[in-house]
């Protein structure tokens, strides 16, 4: 294993916050979803594996200042041992938008563990059922709190929703808190009525 600090691009002795921030940034860069159908896919996956191992190692040994290299098992990766082979096809189907097949396979399965809830959530997300998506991914996270894949999915769902507001604010939307704006709103409503006449 390479020097975990080097992999994450941080100085030795970096704080937990710095490690977390660097990890997030690296994962964003090498996330396999970004490199699908692209020659960099495998490279990105290998790199991600490295990043995960480095992160796991640093988090496990945080505050201990050293120790033996442990193996990773709780971070996001495109293909990881944590993912059960039973659901491999379901993942492929969801990725390709083959939602019906994925849904049927999930219904058939009797293995209702965290991964089942996670995949069901991803399926709902693709379908446009965001409320169900959030409930299911939330269940997956609470069943398996250490799983980074579920946590990151949850975060990106929440972010997608709040992203709209950020864009709107960027375009000059102001939330009418002051009295003048309120009056203006009122005036406009009245004005709209006058327009009808």
């Amino acid at each position: 294993m390479k020097n975990p600090y080097e992999v994450l691009g941080i100085k030795e002795g970096a704080s937990i916050e710095e490690i977390k921030a660097a990890y997030k940034e690296q994962v964003k860069k090498y996330h396999p979803d970004l490199h699908q159908d692209n020659p960099l896919y495998e490279l990105a996956q290998e790199k991600l594996q490295e990043i995960n191992e480095a992160y796991d190692y640093l988090m496990k040994n945080a505050g201990r200042g050293g120790g033996s290299y442990g193996s990773s098992n709780n971070a996001y990766s495109g293909n990881q041992s944590r993912q059960s082979p039973e659901f491999r096809q379901v993942r492929i189907d969801i990725d390709r938008g083959n939602l019906k097949a994925a849904e049927e396979a999930l219904e058939r399965s009797s293995n209702r563990g965290a991964e089942w809830y996670f995949l069901k959530g991803m399926l709902f997300l693709r379908k446009g059922w965001y409320d169900e998506a959030v409930s299911h991914v939330q269940t997956a996270v609470s069943m398996d709190p250490g799983n980074m894949e579920y946590r990151m999915a949850m975060n990106s769902i929440i972010q997608a929703s709040s992203g709209y507001r950020t864009t709107a604010y960027g375009r000059g939307y102001s939330n009418m808190n002051d009295e003048l704006c309120r009056m203006l709103q009122c005036y406009c409503c009245a004005d709209l009525l006058c327009d009808c006449i």
């Binding site: 709902f124 446009g128 059922w129 965001y130 409320d131 169900e132 959030v134 769902i157 929440i158 997608a160 929703s161 709040s162 992203g163 709209y164 507001r165 864009t167 709107a168 375009r171 000059g172 939307y173 939330n175 009418m176 009295e179 704006c181 309120r182 009056m183 203006l184 709103q185 009122c186 406009c188 004005d191 709209l192 327009d195 009808c196 006449i197």
Partner: protein, 296 residues
């Protein structure tokens, strides 16, 4: 479910406002030209959004006229004429109005909806000829909606699906000759607009539905128990989740809009998408809470 999709008027430029009114009057004139005076009464602001989004894809300059009309005799109005997008939006508006009246007639009875149905019957027959598949599909979705209501469906997403799919159908204007990618994006805009309208309407009507015991998926999904909890507390409890959902719909809606090959109406339509809808969202979310103070 009408009147939620409107621009944020204080933020509009005068010329954008004129264009908006032009589309509104254009809808009205389009109905009159093709179906006569009576169906004009179903005119609404939400349909302007459809006309604007579809109109945004046209490349020529709008045919704009200034003229008087019997409803507004004093002032000349801007009217957008001869727009395929406006005609299509007018057709969809009439279609939805007809189904809506049928629904009211069945549920509540009374003279008003019955008279409306009779009035729109002829128009509907014409529409059925122009859009046979859409009519059948929309009718099917409305039946699904009624079934879910009957079954007291306790899932917001499930309950909203038929209406969202219906709006997806309404926005997918195949007859205007768009390519499949554009139709898909329009469908997405329709689907998320539908979900947004459904949820905002459900949240807006909570008190009323709880009081008269009528169906509301939110009361069921989050298990509202009248004796144990005030409606203010209930709103407070579910508000964050509702906000998450509403903003998610708007995020997806704006994502689809950004991918469209927009030729005109950009500022005006984006005023609705990024300001009008957000303003309405925040206004409805504030309802029934301590922040909900009327201006002086």
């Amino acid at each position: 479910m009408l009147g939620y999709v409107v621009p944020d008027k204080p933020e509009l430029k005068i010329r954008e406002f004129e264009l908006y009114s032009g589309y509104y009057c254009g809808l009205c004139k389009s109905v009159k030209q093709r179906y006569g005076q009576l169906p004009r009464i179903v005119l609404n602001y939400d349909s302007v959004f459809l006309a604007l989004v579809l109109g945004a894809l046209g490349s020529n300059i709008e045919n704009i006229k200034h003229e008087r009309c019997p409803v507004h005799p004093l002032k000349k109005r801007t009217v957008v004429y001869n727009e395929a997008a406006v005609d299509y939006a007018a057709d969809m508006m009439l279609l939805l109005a007809y189904f809506n009246l049928m629904d009211e007639k069945r549920d509540e009875g009374g003279i008003k909806p019955a008279a409306g149905v009779i009035m729109l019957k002829k128009t509907y027959k014409k529409l059925m000829k122009s859009y046979p598949e859409k009519c059948i599909m929309i009718q099917g979705k409305l039946e699904e909606l009624a079934d879910l209501e009957e079954q007291k469906c306790a899932s917001l997403d499930r309950a909203a699906e038929p209406f969202a799919k219906l709006m997806e159908e309404v926005f997918s204007a195949e007859s205007l000759g768009y390519d499949s990618k554009t139709l898909e994006l329009l469908g997405k805009i329709g689907y998320h607009t539908g979900k947004w309208i459904y949820l905002i309407d459900a949240y807006d009507d909570l008190e009323e539905n709880a009081a008269n015991g009528s169906y509301n998926p939110l009361l069921l999904q989050w298990d509202y128990q009248p004796g144990k909890e005030s409606m203010t507390d209930f709103r407070e409890r579910i508000k964050e989740r509702i906000e998450f959902n509403l903003l998610f719909y708007l995020a997806e809606l704006s994502k689809a809009w950004d991918q469209l090959d927009v030729q005109r109406n950009r500022e005006l339509t984006e005023n609705i998408i990024y300001s009008g809808l957000l303003r309405k969202t925040e206004e409805i979310l504030k309802k029934g809470t301590s922040e909900d103070e009327k201006p002086l």
